[in-house]
């Protein structure tokens, strides 16, 4: 699971009003090389929650991403490359995503998160 995916997942358990972002518990992180595509990254920047990405990347072991970002920073190659690395190249292979309100744990196995809710959670 890349952090781009993590940035769009939230906990929809009954009664939860703010299930985003899911807390990450790491068991296995894999870094995968991905082609650098500045246009794609610029499009994505508008769509993601940057703060959640920064926090998540730190937990995944990458501390280079600046705490705050403005769209103007997308012109900087240095920032774009860090953004690219955090968003696209850090993969959670094994671990858990945790609902920030209820603590409910959603497993991630072989890079695939299982977000299915139990009967009493819907």
């Amino acid at each position: 699971m890349r952090l781009l995916t993590h940035n769009m997942l939230s906990s929809n358990i009954k009664g939860v009003t703010n299930g985003f972002p899911l807390r990450i518990e790491v068991e296995k992180v894999v870094e995968k090389s991905v082609d650098f595509n500045p246009d794609f990254l610029k499009n994505m920047f508008a769509k993601i929650e940057y703060k959640a990405l920064v926090e998540a990347s730190r937990i995944m072991g990458y501390a280079e991403l600046p705490d705050h970002a403005e769209p103007s920073m997308l012109e900087s190659d240095d920032f774009l490359r860090k953004f690219h690395h955090a968003l696209m190249e850090l993969h959670l292979e094994e671990g858990t995503l945790v609902c920030p309100e209820t603590g409910r744990r959603f497993p991630v196995n072989k890079g695939v998160p299982n977000m299915l809710l139990h009967e009493d959670e819907v």
């Binding site: 939230s10 991905v34 794609f40 299982n114 299915l116």
Partner: protein, 359 residues
């Protein structure tokens, strides 16, 4: 050749004539009957906070306990069916688990079917007027009921953007991921095991909400449609391509008993809840403040599909694969002639329903 045709029709009729009783006797396990009601609910798309409040205030009595249990059984059945059957389908048909789109009355060979499946995607996008202009094209896509990711891959490649797919089947999600990686699309497509009725996304996330032949599995159509609308971003297109039964006339309350009997057999084998009509989908979308709601009957454009699937099942490869797969898959194969019968009678419709969320 005449002899082969005779075999094909004989086999089809024998298969189609098998009833639940035969299957129950043969396997020794009774098949569950599941009944799900569809109802028109609500006048707006509920966002997550509103849904939470509504559920809390209703004390969770939206759905009674028996129905809830049936829904859980259905979901497990769907997951297990696809866990078991995806491999054999992929082996013979490839990564698109949906009907092909054909010119009416055309004759098609086996090699044309893959192109027809791709055409189905393109025709659906065209019907919904999804923009191709670089400024207006979709920048984020969700594939609801993604199978092994055929549509996700295609859409991500076509629009050069990211797509995420959800499926109840862990086997499919894992396979989808592997296939995408093999195509070099691992950075553009992702997959999660999740429920279309409770999508794990915040509101308004996706510019294109895609449901290609998964709607027929959804037990609570109103909830399904509400979720599609909820995760759609302003200006997004929602595309539903699904199996429906014929629209009821104004004097009808329901399908006639023979029609229900035919659909019941299909439901048991494919883990489908009660069917609804294309009109029902339109009625569910209308109160949600969505624009450009369009619907069409594409049954004539998919006519060659089921005969082709049956033919592929009756090949040596098809039969040996079925025997090796599992009972769920075999049962699914056995009701294929009933799908043909349903289409021929005008009972089963291949429907497309699309709309747009306002900006």
């Amino acid at each position: 050749m005449p002899f082969q045709s005779l075999n094909f029709f004989a086999a089809s009729n024998v298969l189609g004539g098998l009833t639940r009783k035969h299957i129950t006797l043969f396997t020794g396990c009774p098949l569950p009957r599941d009944r799900f009601t569809t109802s028109v609910q609500g006048a707006r798309i509920l966002n997550k906070k509103e849904m939470a409040v509504r559920q809390a205030s209703l004390g969770g009595v939206d759905v009674d306990l028996e129905t809830k249990t049936n829904v859980e059984k259905l979901k497990r059945g769907i997951a297990e069916f696809y866990d078991e059957s995806s491999g054999i389908w992929e082996d013979i048909w490839g990564d698109h688990m949906h009907h092909g789109f054909y010119d009416p009355n055309s004759t098609v060979s086996l090699s044309d079917h893959r192109a027809a499946q791709v055409r189905m995607i393109e025709e659906a996008l065209k019907f919904a007027s999804v923009p191709e202009d670089p400024m207006k094209k979709p920048k984020s896509i969700v594939d609801v009921g993604c199978g092994i990711g055929g549509s996700s891959q295609y859409l991500a490649r076509k629009y050069g953007t990211e797509c995420t797919g959800i499926t109840l089947s862990p086997v499919q999600a894992e396979r989808a991921r592997a296939l995408a990686a093999a195509q070099g699309l691992e950075n553009k497509v992702s997959f999660e095991v999740a429920d279309a009725l409770n999508q794990p996304f915040p509101d308004g996330k996706f510019d294109l909400v895609w449901s290609m032949e998964s709607g027929e599995h959804m037990p609570e159509k109103a909830k399904f449609v509400n979720e599609l609308a909820r995760v759609a971003a302003p200006g997004a297109r929602i595309i539903i391509v699904t199996w429906c039964h014929r629209n009821l006339s104004s004097s009808e309350q329901s399908l006639n008993p023979d029609e229900k009997k035919l659909l019941d057999k299909i439901c048991d084998a494919y883990y489908l809840p009660t069917w609804c009509s294309t009109d029902d989908y339109v009625k569910l979308l209308q109160p949600l403040s969505l624009q450009d709601i369009k619907a069409a009957d594409w049954s004539e454009y998919v006519a060659p599909f089921w005969p082709a699937v049956i033919r592929s099942a009756l090949t040596w490869k098809g039969i040996t694969s079925l025997i090796l797969s599992g009972w769920k898959t075999i049962k699914g194969a056995m009701v294929m002639p009933l799908m043909m019968k349903g289409y021929k009678k005008g009972l089963i419709k291949f429907a497309i329903i699309t709309c747009r969320k306002p900006e």
